[in-house]
Amino acid sequence: MKQNEENYKNCFSEAFEIEIEKISSDLEYNAIPEWDSIGHMTLISALEEKFDISFETDDIIDFSSYKKGIEILQKYSINFS
């Protein structure tokens, strides 16, 4: 769903406090200073709130990129296609 992808992207923008235009699908953990350990936990919390889910610890660790995050969210029945 397009709306889900938009919400997903907004979570990155809010968590890292950077303009939405700067969030690309190639983004990876630690590739920008904002996506550090604090940024990561803030992102996880923003996604949990937005999609009303609770991540397993393993998924928080596997969440290493924008693309990987989409894969993980699909496990929680969030549809992106």
Binding site: Y29, N30, P33, S37, I38, M41, I44, T57
Partner: protein
Amino acid sequence: MPIHSSLLKKPRLVKKLRSFYKYVNENDGQVGTKTRGIDLNLNNACNLRCKYCFTNSPKGERVKDRLPLDVLARVADEADELGYFEFDLQGGELLLRPDILFESLEAIKPERFYLYLTTNGFHLDEKMAKKLADAHVSRVSVSIDSMDEATHDRIRGRKESWRKAIEALKHVQEAGMDPYLNITVGHYNAFDPAFEELLKYSKDQKYKTLINVAVPAGMWSMMSEIMLDDKDREHLYNLRKEYKNLIRNIWNPFDKTHEKSIGCTTVNRLYITPIGDVLACPYVHIKIGNVIEQSLREIVEYGFSIKHFNEHSPICLAGENKEFVKKYLSNSGQSIFKPALAKDIFPEADFIDKSNLKIHY
């Protein structure tokens, strides 16, 4: 791929961090009695002579002492079990003796913690930064007093210290660890343009900036005039809105509005001296136990049984609460090595009965 020191390589840390985050959220944003971090003075020897050192290192106090490795390993295991997720190694200056530092890291097993070093950066070159990242160190904090080289060097008592500190932070960033620029702020410099100059530099370099408030302890013992007042605090509040990379241990790091305080973190963040004494925090020089003689759990329970450390305080007890400082932290000679004893300075009425004590591990 994330480096060894990355959060994504530390599943145990993620679990504890998440538990902390959930607790704080469910507790109206307050830290309450949730365990958070261990500040360990590994060794008090230092190569600089900073004017405001809170450990009395420039006076040469206890510079040869350190915790036995087996005790350190046990304390780290206990801390992990009790949910402590941060481990801040400090001194003295840690990089004076890398041999001690690396054997201590091995004993602590940093893969379980958000482990960081607080250093003056003098001996932190590119090679050392890589070695630290490989040893699972997540962050390095380097203290800088001014963007003016001469001012910093004068405060630190050694030439070249500014240049080395600035370079050290670059090496930390390049090695993939979290670079933190530490600034000490008190009433004497809160409105000084030089302070904001440092904030701008840190932001431009994409570092985090950690504010430590000046405390009347150690070399500045009894100097309560250095403490922040209401105006200074309001100024910091406004700066926090402007500089989103600004952090204080008392502030909620996950607060998107950049407004909330989780509260003073006495006992939530314990301070352990090289002789094993446990103080309520690095700046509250009140002893609540000794790790050589007691288990960490016993010490934590005792610490939280003291109402001043159990109840929420929106401001830092040692750096902002003048009444607390006057009453409990102004004994002549009180220091990290000569702390006041909690049982001597607090009346019985200040202790919470064990049956009413709730600690969140």
